[in-house]
Protein backbone atom coordinates (compact mmCIF):
# COMPACT_ATOMS: atom_id res chain seq x y z
CA UNK A 1 0.00 0.00 0.00
CA UNK A 2 2.52 2.60 1.13
CA UNK A 3 4.75 2.31 -1.86
CA UNK A 4 6.44 5.24 -3.48
CA UNK A 5 4.05 5.60 -6.37
CA UNK A 6 1.01 5.48 -4.13
CA UNK A 7 2.44 8.12 -1.80
CA UNK A 8 3.32 10.27 -4.73
CA UNK A 9 -0.22 10.20 -6.09
CA UNK A 10 -1.65 11.04 -2.69
CA UNK A 11 0.69 14.02 -2.31
CA UNK A 12 -0.11 15.11 -5.83
CA UNK A 13 -3.84 14.94 -5.16
CA UNK A 14 -3.39 16.88 -1.91
CA UNK A 15 -1.28 19.62 -3.47
CA UNK A 16 -3.57 19.98 -6.45
CA UNK A 17 -6.85 20.07 -4.60
CA UNK A 18 -5.90 22.00 -1.50
CA UNK A 19 -6.50 25.44 -3.02
CA UNK A 20 -3.99 26.67 -0.52
CA UNK A 21 -0.35 26.37 0.39
CA UNK A 22 0.41 22.99 1.90
CA UNK A 23 3.41 22.45 4.11
CA UNK A 24 5.35 19.34 5.07
CA UNK A 25 3.66 19.12 8.44
CA UNK A 26 0.25 18.87 6.84
CA UNK A 27 1.46 16.17 4.49
CA UNK A 28 2.99 14.32 7.42
CA UNK A 29 -0.43 14.29 9.08
CA UNK A 30 -1.98 12.89 5.92
CA UNK A 31 0.34 9.92 6.27
CA UNK A 32 -0.04 9.82 10.02
CA UNK A 33 3.62 10.67 10.45
CA UNK A 34 4.69 7.39 8.90
CA UNK A 35 6.79 9.15 6.28
CA UNK A 36 9.83 11.27 7.02
CA UNK A 37 10.07 14.87 5.90
CA UNK A 38 13.09 14.02 3.79
CA UNK A 39 11.14 11.36 1.98
CA UNK A 40 8.26 13.78 1.47
CA UNK A 41 10.62 16.41 0.09
CA UNK A 42 12.14 13.89 -2.26
CA UNK A 43 8.74 12.92 -3.61
CA UNK A 44 7.63 16.54 -3.92
CA UNK A 45 10.78 17.23 -5.88
CA UNK A 46 9.92 14.38 -8.21
CA UNK A 47 6.38 15.67 -8.66
CA UNK A 48 7.81 19.09 -9.44
CA UNK A 49 9.98 17.63 -12.18
CA UNK A 50 7.01 15.69 -13.60
CA UNK A 51 5.30 18.98 -14.34
CA UNK A 52 8.19 20.58 -16.20
CA UNK A 53 6.53 19.85 -19.49
CA UNK A 54 3.01 20.72 -18.43
CA UNK A 55 0.82 23.80 -18.34
CA UNK A 56 1.13 24.10 -14.58
CA UNK A 57 4.04 24.04 -12.18
CA UNK A 58 4.72 23.40 -8.52
CA UNK A 59 6.07 26.36 -6.58
CA UNK A 60 8.09 26.17 -3.41
CA UNK A 61 6.97 29.13 -1.32
CA UNK A 62 7.98 30.49 2.05
CA UNK A 63 5.27 28.58 3.85
CA UNK A 64 4.97 25.47 1.70
CA UNK A 65 4.07 24.27 -1.74
CA UNK A 66 1.40 25.20 -4.23
CA UNK A 67 0.61 24.52 -7.86
CA UNK A 68 0.03 27.39 -10.24
CA UNK A 69 -0.55 27.83 -13.92
CA UNK A 70 2.58 28.81 -15.80
CA UNK A 71 2.58 32.57 -16.37
CA UNK A 72 3.27 32.16 -20.07
CA UNK A 73 -0.23 30.75 -20.59
CA UNK A 74 -2.06 33.48 -18.70
CA UNK A 75 -2.94 35.43 -21.81
CA UNK A 76 -4.83 32.37 -23.04
CA UNK A 77 -6.49 31.65 -19.73
CA UNK A 78 -7.68 35.24 -19.55
CA UNK A 79 -9.76 34.63 -22.64
CA UNK A 80 -11.90 32.23 -20.62
CA UNK A 81 -13.02 35.08 -18.42
CA UNK A 82 -14.78 38.23 -19.43
CA UNK A 83 -13.03 40.38 -16.87
CA UNK A 84 -9.32 40.85 -17.05
CA UNK A 85 -7.36 40.97 -13.84
CA UNK A 86 -6.66 44.48 -12.64
CA UNK A 87 -3.23 45.97 -13.07
CA UNK A 88 -1.87 48.19 -10.40
CA UNK A 89 -1.14 51.82 -11.14
CA UNK A 90 2.37 53.19 -11.00
CA UNK A 91 1.51 54.88 -7.71
CA UNK A 92 0.52 51.54 -6.19
CA UNK A 93 3.59 49.77 -7.52
CA UNK A 94 5.93 52.52 -6.37
CA UNK A 95 4.40 52.50 -2.92
CA UNK A 96 4.65 48.72 -2.83
CA UNK A 97 8.30 48.85 -3.88
CA UNK A 98 9.15 51.34 -1.18
CA UNK A 99 7.46 49.13 1.41
CA UNK A 100 9.13 46.02 0.02
CA UNK A 101 12.65 47.43 -0.22
CA UNK A 102 12.64 49.84 2.70
CA UNK A 103 10.47 48.02 5.20
CA UNK A 104 9.48 48.71 7.87
CA UNK A 105 8.55 52.15 6.66
CA UNK A 106 6.07 54.85 7.61
CA UNK A 107 3.57 56.55 5.37
CA UNK A 108 5.55 59.77 5.80
CA UNK A 109 8.73 58.14 4.58
CA UNK A 110 6.89 56.84 1.53
CA UNK A 111 5.62 60.36 0.84
CA UNK A 112 9.11 61.81 1.17
CA UNK A 113 10.54 59.31 -1.21
CA UNK A 114 7.86 59.73 -3.83
CA UNK A 115 7.66 63.49 -3.32
CA UNK A 116 3.86 63.46 -3.17
CA UNK A 117 1.15 62.93 -0.59
CA UNK A 118 -0.03 59.37 -0.60
CA UNK A 119 -3.61 58.68 -1.50
CA UNK A 120 -5.12 56.43 1.15
CA UNK A 121 -6.71 54.31 -1.60
CA UNK A 122 -3.23 53.15 -2.51
CA UNK A 123 -2.47 51.83 0.95
CA UNK A 124 -5.99 50.43 1.13
CA UNK A 125 -5.50 48.52 -2.12
CA UNK A 126 -2.35 46.91 -0.78
CA UNK A 127 -3.97 46.06 2.53
CA UNK A 128 -6.94 44.49 0.80
CA UNK A 129 -4.70 42.40 -1.37
CA UNK A 130 -3.12 41.14 1.83
CA UNK A 131 0.30 42.26 0.63
CA UNK A 132 1.14 44.71 3.42
CA UNK A 133 0.54 44.89 7.12
CA UNK A 134 1.26 47.09 10.11
CA UNK A 135 4.18 45.68 12.05
CA UNK A 136 4.56 48.36 14.69
CA UNK A 137 4.68 52.06 15.38
CA UNK A 138 7.57 54.44 15.07
CA UNK A 139 8.63 56.30 18.19
CA UNK A 140 7.72 59.65 16.72
CA UNK A 141 4.99 62.18 17.41
CA UNK A 142 1.71 60.61 16.31
CA UNK A 143 3.25 57.13 16.55
CA UNK A 144 3.04 56.54 12.80
CA UNK A 145 2.40 52.97 11.70
CA UNK A 146 5.27 50.97 10.33
CA UNK A 147 4.34 49.11 7.17
CA UNK A 148 5.89 45.91 5.88
CA UNK A 149 5.09 43.31 3.27
CA UNK A 150 3.40 40.05 4.23
CA UNK A 151 4.22 36.45 3.45
CA UNK A 152 1.16 36.50 1.21
CA UNK A 153 3.00 39.07 -0.89
CA UNK A 154 5.90 36.65 -1.28
CA UNK A 155 3.48 33.83 -2.10
CA UNK A 156 1.70 35.83 -4.76
CA UNK A 157 5.00 36.68 -6.39
CA UNK A 158 5.99 33.05 -6.19
CA UNK A 159 9.08 33.66 -4.08
CA UNK A 160 10.30 32.43 -0.72
CA UNK A 161 11.94 35.52 0.70
CA UNK A 162 12.48 39.20 0.03
CA UNK A 163 15.98 38.35 -1.09
CA UNK A 164 14.49 36.89 -4.24
CA UNK A 165 13.11 40.26 -5.26
CA UNK A 166 15.01 41.85 -8.12
CA UNK A 167 17.95 43.73 -6.60
CA UNK A 168 17.59 47.47 -6.33
CA UNK A 169 19.04 48.97 -9.48
CA UNK A 170 22.38 50.64 -9.17
CA UNK A 171 21.45 54.29 -9.42
CA UNK A 172 24.23 55.81 -11.49
CA UNK A 173 24.38 53.03 -14.02
CA UNK A 174 20.66 52.62 -14.23
CA UNK A 175 20.19 56.25 -14.92
CA UNK A 176 22.78 56.31 -17.67
CA UNK A 177 21.67 53.11 -19.35
CA UNK A 178 18.08 54.14 -19.58
CA UNK A 179 18.25 57.47 -21.26
CA UNK A 180 16.83 56.09 -24.46
CA UNK A 181 14.08 54.36 -22.64
CA UNK A 182 10.93 56.17 -21.70
CA UNK A 183 9.84 54.89 -18.33
CA UNK A 184 6.62 56.81 -18.42
CA UNK A 185 5.31 54.93 -21.38
CA UNK A 186 6.33 51.61 -19.99
CA UNK A 187 3.39 51.07 -17.70
CA UNK A 188 0.84 51.96 -20.30
CA UNK A 189 2.22 49.50 -22.75
CA UNK A 190 3.14 46.62 -20.57
CA UNK A 191 -0.25 44.96 -20.88
CA UNK A 192 0.92 42.84 -23.76
CA UNK A 193 4.51 42.72 -22.80
CA UNK A 194 4.72 40.07 -20.17
CA UNK A 195 5.22 37.28 -22.63
CA UNK A 196 7.78 39.15 -24.65
CA UNK A 197 9.95 40.19 -21.78
CA UNK A 198 10.61 36.64 -20.68
Amino acid sequence: MNNFSHIKKVIEACLLTANDIIDLEQLAIVFEHQISNNKLKEIIEEISVDYNEKGIELLKLASGYRFRSKPEYQSYINKLYSTKPARYSRAVMETLSIIAYRQPVTRGEIENLRGVAINSNIIQTLFERGWIEIVGHKQLPGKPELLATTSRFLDDLGIQSLEELPPLPNLQDAFKNNTDHDLIEEYDHQKDKNNDTK
Partner: protein
Protein backbone atom coordinates in the same frame (compact mmCIF):
# COMPACT_ATOMS: atom_id res chain seq x y z
CA UNK B 1 -8.83 57.46 -18.39
CA UNK B 2 -7.21 55.87 -21.41
CA UNK B 3 -8.01 58.43 -24.04
CA UNK B 4 -4.92 57.42 -25.99
CA UNK B 5 -2.33 59.38 -24.07
CA UNK B 6 0.40 57.98 -26.28
CA UNK B 7 -0.54 60.15 -29.18
CA UNK B 8 -0.73 63.12 -26.91
CA UNK B 9 2.63 62.15 -25.53
CA UNK B 10 4.18 62.37 -28.92
CA UNK B 11 2.73 65.81 -29.46
CA UNK B 12 4.00 66.86 -26.11
CA UNK B 13 7.43 65.42 -26.52
CA UNK B 14 7.96 66.94 -29.92
CA UNK B 15 6.42 70.30 -29.24
CA UNK B 16 7.20 71.11 -25.68
CA UNK B 17 10.89 71.74 -25.23
CA UNK B 18 11.07 74.57 -27.74
CA UNK B 19 7.60 75.88 -27.98
CA UNK B 20 5.84 75.52 -24.69
CA UNK B 21 2.39 76.01 -25.98
CA UNK B 22 0.25 72.92 -25.76
CA UNK B 23 -3.54 72.62 -25.74
CA UNK B 24 -4.99 72.77 -22.22
CA UNK B 25 -6.33 69.20 -22.37
CA UNK B 26 -2.95 67.96 -23.48
CA UNK B 27 -1.23 69.79 -20.68
CA UNK B 28 -3.59 68.18 -18.21
CA UNK B 29 -2.91 64.73 -19.59
CA UNK B 30 0.76 65.58 -19.61
CA UNK B 31 0.65 66.36 -15.93
CA UNK B 32 -1.29 63.18 -15.17
CA UNK B 33 1.55 61.14 -16.55
CA UNK B 34 3.70 62.11 -13.62
CA UNK B 35 3.64 60.77 -10.13
CA UNK B 36 4.77 64.07 -8.68
CA UNK B 37 7.36 66.83 -9.01
CA UNK B 38 10.31 64.43 -8.69
CA UNK B 39 8.93 62.40 -11.52
CA UNK B 40 8.43 65.47 -13.67
CA UNK B 41 11.94 66.68 -12.92
CA UNK B 42 13.42 63.33 -13.81
CA UNK B 43 11.55 63.51 -17.08
CA UNK B 44 12.90 66.94 -17.86
CA UNK B 45 16.45 65.91 -17.01
CA UNK B 46 16.23 62.73 -19.02
CA UNK B 47 14.57 64.46 -21.93
CA UNK B 48 17.61 66.63 -22.37
CA UNK B 49 20.14 63.92 -21.75
CA UNK B 50 21.48 65.72 -18.74
CA UNK B 51 23.67 64.05 -16.19
CA UNK B 52 21.69 63.75 -13.05
CA UNK B 53 24.79 64.32 -10.93
CA UNK B 54 25.62 67.55 -12.76
CA UNK B 55 22.17 68.94 -13.23
CA UNK B 56 22.37 72.49 -14.58
CA UNK B 57 20.00 73.73 -11.94
CA UNK B 58 19.23 77.04 -13.59
CA UNK B 59 18.18 75.42 -16.82
CA UNK B 60 16.05 72.77 -15.24
CA UNK B 61 14.44 75.26 -12.89
CA UNK B 62 13.46 77.48 -15.78
CA UNK B 63 11.83 74.63 -17.62
CA UNK B 64 10.03 73.38 -14.56
CA UNK B 65 8.71 76.80 -13.64
CA UNK B 66 7.47 77.39 -17.16
CA UNK B 67 5.43 74.21 -17.02
CA UNK B 68 4.03 75.01 -13.62
CA UNK B 69 3.14 78.55 -14.61
CA UNK B 70 1.45 77.34 -17.79
CA UNK B 71 -0.68 74.96 -15.80
CA UNK B 72 -1.60 77.62 -13.29
CA UNK B 73 -2.53 80.06 -16.02
CA UNK B 74 -4.76 77.37 -17.49
CA UNK B 75 -6.33 76.75 -14.08
CA UNK B 76 -5.22 73.15 -14.09
CA UNK B 77 -5.45 71.88 -10.58
CA UNK B 78 -1.94 71.41 -9.36
CA UNK B 79 -0.95 69.42 -6.31
CA UNK B 80 0.80 71.59 -3.77
CA UNK B 81 3.92 69.45 -4.06
CA UNK B 82 4.53 70.87 -7.54
CA UNK B 83 4.45 74.42 -6.24
CA UNK B 84 6.66 73.53 -3.32
CA UNK B 85 9.18 72.03 -5.67
CA UNK B 86 9.14 75.18 -7.79
CA UNK B 87 10.01 77.16 -4.69
CA UNK B 88 12.77 74.74 -3.75
CA UNK B 89 14.25 74.91 -7.24
CA UNK B 90 14.17 78.68 -7.31
CA UNK B 91 15.88 78.79 -3.95
CA UNK B 92 18.59 76.39 -5.04
CA UNK B 93 19.07 78.35 -8.22
CA UNK B 94 19.47 81.62 -6.35
CA UNK B 95 21.91 80.05 -3.90
CA UNK B 96 23.97 78.45 -6.62
CA UNK B 97 24.22 81.78 -8.33
CA UNK B 98 25.68 83.33 -5.23
CA UNK B 99 29.41 82.52 -5.25
CA UNK B 100 29.78 82.84 -1.47
CA UNK B 101 27.53 79.93 -0.87
CA UNK B 102 29.51 77.63 -3.12
CA UNK B 103 32.63 77.29 -1.07
CA UNK B 104 35.78 76.87 -3.14
CA UNK B 105 37.12 74.20 -0.87
CA UNK B 106 33.95 72.13 -1.47
CA UNK B 107 34.46 70.21 1.74
CA UNK B 108 32.09 67.56 3.01
CA UNK B 109 30.24 69.83 5.41
CA UNK B 110 29.40 72.14 2.59
CA UNK B 111 28.29 69.23 0.51
CA UNK B 112 25.79 68.26 3.11
CA UNK B 113 24.45 71.75 3.23
CA UNK B 114 24.36 72.02 -0.51
CA UNK B 115 20.65 72.12 -1.38
CA UNK B 116 21.44 70.88 -4.84
CA UNK B 117 23.03 67.75 -3.49
CA UNK B 118 19.95 67.15 -1.39
CA UNK B 119 17.73 67.45 -4.44
CA UNK B 120 19.97 65.18 -6.46
CA UNK B 121 19.86 62.60 -3.68
CA UNK B 122 16.09 62.67 -3.68
CA UNK B 123 15.95 62.41 -7.44
CA UNK B 124 18.28 59.45 -7.45
CA UNK B 125 16.38 57.69 -4.70
CA UNK B 126 13.14 58.24 -6.48
CA UNK B 127 14.60 57.04 -9.75
CA UNK B 128 15.74 53.91 -7.96
CA UNK B 129 12.26 53.25 -6.61
CA UNK B 130 10.73 53.91 -9.99
CA UNK B 131 12.92 51.28 -11.53
CA UNK B 132 12.39 48.89 -8.65
CA UNK B 133 8.64 49.32 -9.08
CA UNK B 134 9.05 48.59 -12.74
CA UNK B 135 11.05 45.43 -12.01
CA UNK B 136 8.59 44.36 -9.37
CA UNK B 137 5.80 44.87 -11.82
CA UNK B 138 7.57 42.57 -14.26
CA UNK B 139 7.47 39.71 -11.80
CA UNK B 140 4.63 37.25 -12.27
CA UNK B 141 1.81 38.17 -9.92
CA UNK B 142 -0.89 35.81 -8.73
CA UNK B 143 -4.20 36.41 -10.53
CA UNK B 144 -2.70 38.87 -13.01
CA UNK B 145 -0.08 36.56 -14.48
CA UNK B 146 -0.99 33.15 -13.21
CA UNK B 147 -3.73 31.37 -11.32
CA UNK B 148 -3.47 28.99 -8.45
CA UNK B 149 -4.64 25.54 -9.36
CA UNK B 150 -8.19 25.01 -8.28
CA UNK B 151 -9.45 21.50 -8.65
CA UNK B 152 -12.74 20.07 -7.59
CA UNK B 153 -12.47 17.71 -4.70
CA UNK B 154 -14.50 14.62 -5.39
CA UNK B 155 -16.85 15.10 -2.45
CA UNK B 156 -17.07 18.82 -2.03
CA UNK B 157 -20.07 18.65 0.30
CA UNK B 158 -19.37 17.84 3.90
CA UNK B 159 -18.59 14.21 4.12
CA UNK B 160 -21.61 12.17 5.12
CA UNK B 161 -21.29 9.94 8.13
CA UNK B 162 -20.40 6.37 7.30
CA UNK B 163 -21.82 3.49 9.22
CA UNK B 164 -21.17 -0.21 9.17
CA UNK B 165 -23.62 -2.97 10.00
CA UNK B 166 -21.97 -3.50 13.38
CA UNK B 167 -22.95 0.05 14.33
CA UNK B 168 -26.57 -0.89 13.87
CA UNK B 169 -26.22 -4.01 15.93
CA UNK B 170 -24.59 -2.09 18.72
CA UNK B 171 -27.28 0.54 18.62
CA UNK B 172 -29.90 -2.13 18.73
CA UNK B 173 -28.17 -3.60 21.75
CA UNK B 174 -28.37 -0.30 23.52
CA UNK B 175 -31.98 0.08 22.62
CA UNK B 176 -32.76 -3.38 23.93
CA UNK B 177 -31.07 -2.67 27.18
CA UNK B 178 -33.03 0.46 27.53
CA UNK B 179 -36.27 -1.21 26.69
CA UNK B 180 -35.36 -3.89 29.19
CA UNK B 181 -35.20 -1.17 31.78
CA UNK B 182 -38.46 0.13 30.45
CA UNK B 183 -39.91 -3.34 30.86
CA UNK B 184 -38.80 -3.32 34.42
CA UNK B 185 -40.90 -0.24 34.73
CA UNK B 186 -43.64 -2.33 33.23
CA UNK B 187 -42.93 -4.92 35.89
CA UNK B 188 -43.51 -2.31 38.46
CA UNK B 189 -46.73 -1.38 36.77
CA UNK B 190 -47.52 -5.05 36.71
CA UNK B 191 -46.62 -5.11 40.35
CA UNK B 192 -48.94 -2.23 40.90
CA UNK B 193 -51.63 -4.31 39.33
CA UNK B 194 -50.60 -7.26 41.42
CA UNK B 195 -50.70 -4.97 44.43
CA UNK B 196 -54.31 -4.24 43.64
CA UNK B 197 -54.85 -7.95 43.25
CA UNK B 198 -53.14 -8.72 46.53
CA UNK B 199 -55.12 -6.02 48.26
CA UNK B 200 -58.23 -7.92 47.26
CA UNK B 201 -56.77 -11.18 48.47
CA UNK B 202 -55.93 -9.68 51.85
CA UNK B 203 -59.41 -8.24 52.19
CA UNK B 204 -60.79 -11.66 51.39
CA UNK B 205 -58.58 -13.27 54.03
CA UNK B 206 -59.54 -10.72 56.64
CA UNK B 207 -63.20 -11.17 55.82
CA UNK B 208 -62.75 -14.89 56.45
CA UNK B 209 -60.40 -14.80 59.44
CA UNK B 210 -61.19 -11.53 61.04
CA UNK B 211 -58.45 -9.53 62.72
CA UNK B 212 -55.06 -10.95 61.83
CA UNK B 213 -51.49 -10.77 62.99
CA UNK B 214 -49.53 -8.78 60.42
CA UNK B 215 -46.98 -11.57 59.95
CA UNK B 216 -49.70 -14.18 59.48
CA UNK B 217 -50.67 -12.40 56.28
CA UNK B 218 -47.31 -13.30 54.70
CA UNK B 219 -46.53 -16.58 53.05
CA UNK B 220 -42.72 -16.29 52.83
CA UNK B 221 -42.52 -19.41 50.72
CA UNK B 222 -43.87 -17.38 47.77
CA UNK B 223 -40.66 -15.45 47.41
CA UNK B 224 -39.34 -11.99 47.85
CA UNK B 225 -41.37 -10.32 45.15
CA UNK B 226 -44.57 -11.69 46.70
CA UNK B 227 -43.51 -10.38 50.06
CA UNK B 228 -42.84 -6.98 48.63
CA UNK B 229 -46.14 -6.87 46.76
CA UNK B 230 -47.99 -8.11 49.82
CA UNK B 231 -46.37 -5.52 52.05
CA UNK B 232 -47.15 -2.73 49.60
CA UNK B 233 -50.72 -4.05 49.33
CA UNK B 234 -51.18 -3.86 53.11
CA UNK B 235 -49.78 -0.34 53.25
CA UNK B 236 -52.02 0.65 50.38
CA UNK B 237 -55.06 -0.85 52.15
CA UNK B 238 -54.19 1.11 55.25
CA UNK B 239 -53.63 4.30 53.33
CA UNK B 240 -56.94 3.95 51.57
CA UNK B 241 -58.68 3.29 54.84
CA UNK B 242 -59.85 -0.19 53.92
CA UNK B 243 -58.10 -1.77 56.86
CA UNK B 244 -57.01 -0.49 60.21
CA UNK B 245 -53.51 -1.20 61.40
CA UNK B 246 -52.94 -1.31 65.13
CA UNK B 247 -50.13 -2.25 67.45
CA UNK B 248 -50.48 -3.53 71.06
CA UNK B 249 -48.22 -3.16 74.07
CA UNK B 250 -46.14 -6.15 72.92
CA UNK B 251 -45.40 -4.47 69.56
CA UNK B 252 -47.56 -6.96 67.67
CA UNK B 253 -49.17 -5.47 64.62
CA UNK B 254 -52.74 -6.37 63.84
CA UNK B 255 -54.63 -5.86 60.64
CA UNK B 256 -58.42 -5.84 60.52
CA UNK B 257 -61.13 -4.70 58.22
CA UNK B 258 -61.98 -1.11 58.66
CA UNK B 259 -65.08 -0.49 60.61
Amino acid sequence: MSQSPIILNQQIFTDLPEDLYIPPEALKVFLEMFEGPLDLLLYLIRKQNLDILQVPIAKITNQYVIYINAMQVLNIELASEYLLMAAVLLEIKSRVLLPQLRSESNNEDDNELDPRQELIKRLIEYEQIKQAAHNLNEMPQAIRDYLWIDIMIEESEPELPQIIPADLQKTWHTLLLRSLNAQQEHHIKKQELSVREQMSNILRTLQTNGKSNFFMLFDVKLGISYVVVNFIAILELGKEGMVSITQDEEQIIYIELAA
